[in-house]
């Protein structure tokens, strides 16, 4: 048993840290936020082709790097820290993850190599509930006639849909017990993508309506045998990814606050020297390191292989802690920045908005705790 990072893992983390500090600073984030799709296409291009990050969790047989949850978490933490605006989360942590966990072999061969090479941008709905995409599926009906599927319904929240080449859409098929998964190309008749103006502009969401979108049979991409297990595993890994980003957000809130309080003087001294300020920063650090332990632990468990149930609970634990820590630190950052903390100009507001928006992605902390309690108290 060894809980230390390998040299390669440290290298990946440090590379992510320096690239993102360079390319996703405050000015770059603000510029990306006001761009057409909400990200800098050049940076996204480099992430995909030059850095190869899209291939991190993709198996080697599909052209990926075949690395695991630990490497992915380390990169995502840095992305959260710099509020990277890019469809990385939707392409890799949602779509590629769903394909890997519950996609048919044919679908995996069709999409994963292009994703790994950074040539394709995909997305999928991001529910606010804890039922592992059953909520999303309930809003879309799929009917089959011969070799053609027809999809009707809507998805209230899909990240980066405006930039995606393909959308992975969950739907209910009458007579089936579990959600079905379809690949829908963006340019198709009957699909309407309506951008939402979110307060958190670092990750764009759209609402989508499907008015009788027709698809060939091969665009139903789930593997019936792995569907049930795969939904749970994919949801767990997406929660872990969200947790890793939230951890990065929290860390940056602390770093910004420590730096600011060291320079801000009142009563003739840096406010960082007041115990009231020190203790609040220390409390942030305690919660961040606790979250870090939970996130790294869940990642190590996922990477090492575990039962579906154990992985679901461990990732729910990490996600619960991360959401609470993230909001706590964002709120403390504003408070400890004083007046400038609630201005547009200073960065705490950007982290505060991400903290709140991300708090309910795939379930809020209260709902996840109830799920954990159900597992603990069932025995």
């Amino acid at each position: 048993m060894n809980f230390a990072f390998t040299e390669d893992q440290v290298m990946i983390r440090d590379a992510a840290r320096s690239f993102l500090a360079e390319e996703s600073g405050s000015a770059a984030v603000r510029a990306a936020m006001s761009g057409e799709h909400g990200f800098d296409a050049g940076v996204w291009q480099r992430i995909g082709s030059e850095l190869g990050w899209c291939g991190i969790p993709v198996a080697e047989e599909y052209g990926g790097l075949g690395l695991g949850a630990v490497e992915l978490v380390l990169v995502l933490e840095q992305m959260g820290r710099q509020l990277l605006c890019a469809p990385y989360f939707s392409t890799v942590c949602l779509a590629a993850n769903l394909l890997a966990q519950l996609g048919s072999e044919q679908a995996r061969r069709r999409f994963l190599p292009a994703i790994a090479e950074g040539r394709l941008c995909l997305t999928a709905p991001l529910d606010s509930g804890v039922e592992d995409w059953h909520e999303a599926a309930a809003l879309v009906q799929a009917n089959r006639k011969g070799e053609v599927w027809t999809l009707s319904g809507h998805c209230p929240r899909v990240p980066d849909a405006g930039a995606a080449d393909w959308l992975l859409i969950f739907a209910w098929v009458e007579g089936e017990r579990l959600p079905a998964l379809f690949a829908v190309p963006r340019e198709i008749s009957g699909l309407d993508i309506k951008p939402l103006e979110g307060w958190d502009a670092t990750r764009r969401f759209s609402s989508i309506s499907l008015g009788g979108v027709t698809l060939p049979a091969e665009d139903r991409i789930d593997d019936a045998l792995r569907l049930e297990d795969g939904l749970s595993r994919a949801a767990a890994l997406t929660r872990l990814a969200i947790a890793a980003e939230q951890l990065g957000v929290a860390q940056q809130c602390l770093d910004l606050t420590v730096a600011y309080t060291a320079t801000r003087k009142q009563f003739g001294r840096a406010i960082a020297s007041f115990q009231a300020v020190k203790h609040r920063c220390a409390e942030m650090m305690v919660r961040i390191e606790a979250t870090r332990s939970a996130v790294y632990g869940a990642a190590a468990l996922a990477a090492g292989g575990s039962t579906t149930d154990a992985q679901a609970i461990e990732c729910a634990v990490a996600r619960t802690l991360a959401a609470d820590t993230c909001f706590f630190c964002a709120q403390e950052a504003i408070q400890l920045h004083g007046g400038v903390g609630f201005t547009w100009e200073y960065d705490p507001q950007l982290y505060f908005k991400r903290a709140q928006a991300s708090s309910h992605w795939l379930g809020n902390a209260d709902a996840l705790r109830e799920r954990i309690a159900r597992a603990l108290l069932a025995a």
């Binding site: 230390a4 115990q275 109830e370």
Partner: protein, 395 residues
């Protein structure tokens, strides 16, 4: 990162578990899950016999080098030992101050004669130790020690003053004491580190009754108490260095064992909630899940600590650990009593209730001893975040 255990580790784990299964039975059966902070008064006579049972199996001081009577186990195997010990319900160790604190201190700073004299008694479970650091005026500000010591013409030492919060002094043969050997000195300078027998006319031990009714702490009064000439550790005036070195020996190997006990207490709370129906209460369910999250945090945090974290330098996970576990434990105590409801307000001998009451009361001490919450937050801010330092005693 790799959470998979090696096969040799698994074999060792099985060996410890099997030994515990065979030996923590019969007359020792009643000691299961007893003792430890908050329950130190549980059957000390039998627990000392248990220490000798452990010693006969060579299961005391397992991390010490073989030349001093230990097993020289690796960190991983020490962790496994502590985990399996706690998993089996092994009682709180009467010898932990000797094994964990003064023994390693003597190995690092003691003279050959001191090692020969004291280490075997610790290994064998025949001599027990108490720690004489805190004083009424030296709590968080430990360097403000006022107890005095001086050397007589024959080379022996005398001690005058008072120590407080001395765990298990009434069950111990020896005490190590930090005392001021240079009159007029202040702060960390001019202190010496002495070893004294407790059974002597110059020592008076007075129990302190705690809020939970028990008395596992004491005040210890020294009125010209004597220490042999050869029982000063390190050099006169350099006691602070020895005392601080001692605190470094807590390397975290026992923390996973401590967590096994926490998990046991958590299970007691869950069982209580299931038994009285409060497990259906949504708020209770939230708090149970939250407590579980804390258990997972502590486990992975300990694994981070034991893996050396991110290499040399700042150990952020180690810095937060005491604050984290003590506050978690205190919360668990409150949850336990909230789950019990009015039944928790009645003094009880019910084994499903009494341990939770003890947890509730004693966990109030967790955030105070070994660095209060407030001191911990200072340390975290200063060492972890490089924020400006609080005033320190002038050196």
């Amino acid at each position: 990162m790799n959470l998979q255990p090696s096969t040799t580790d698994e074999a060792f784990r099985a060996e410890v578990a099997e030994w515990m299964r065979r030996h923590l039975s019969g007359r020792f059966e009643s000691l299961r899950h007893r003792g430890g902070p908050g329950d130190e008064e549980a059957d000390p006579v039998l627990r000392k016999e248990w220490e000798r049972e452990l010693a006969a199996g060579r299961w005391t001081c397992v991390g010490w080098p073989a030349e001093h009577g230990g097993r020289g186990l690796s960190i991983e195997q020490q962790v496994i030992f502590h985990e399996e010990y706690a998993r089996a319900g092994g009682p709180g160790r009467m010898g932990h101050i000797g094994e964990g604190l003064i023994g390693p201190t003597l190995i690092a700073f003691g003279s050959e004669a001191q090692k020969r004299r004291f280490l075997p008694g610790i290994v064998a479970g025949t001599e027990y130790w108490a720690q004489g650091y805190s004083e009424p005026g030296a709590g968080s500000d430990l360097a403000n020690v006022q107890t005095r010591c001086w050397q007589e013409a024959d080379g022996s030492w005398r001690v005058q003053g008072q120590k407080v919060w001395t765990s298990l002094a009434h069950e111990s043969e020896w005490i190590f004491v930090l005392a001021r050997s240079e009159p007029g000195s202040k702060g960390r300078n001019g202190l010496s580190f002495l070893l004294l027998p407790l059974a002597q006319p110059g020592v008076r031990i007075q129990p302190i009754r705690q809020m939970g009714g028990g008395s596992e702490f004491n005040e210890v009064f020294f009125d010209g108490a004597a220490a042999e000439a050869g029982h000063l550790v390190g050099k006169p005036g350099e006691g602070w260095k020895v005392a601080m070195g001692l605190l470094e020996f807590e390397r975290g190997v026992s923390t996973l064992g401590q967590q096994m006990h926490f998990a046991y207490e958590f299970d007691l709370v869950v069982k209580a909630a299931q038994a009285n129906g409060s497990a259906a209460n949504p708020q209770v369910r939230q708090r149970i899940a939250q407590a579980w999250c804390g258990l997972r945090v502590m486990r992975y945090n300990a694994l981070r600590m034991l893996s050396g974290g991110e290499g040399p330098g700042l150990k952020r996970e180690a810095l937060i650990y005491k604050y984290y576990w003590s506050n978690w434990h205190r919360e668990l105590g409150k949850l336990a009593l909230d789950v019990l409801g009015p039944a928790g307000d009645v003094v009880s001998d019910d084994p499903r209730i009494r341990p939770l009451q003890q947890l509730f009361f004693f966990s109030r001490a967790d955030t105070i001893y070994a660095g209060t919450n407030e001191i911990q937050l200072n340390l975290i801010a200063e060492r972890g975040l490089d924020m400006p330092r609080e005033p320190r005693p002038t050196a």
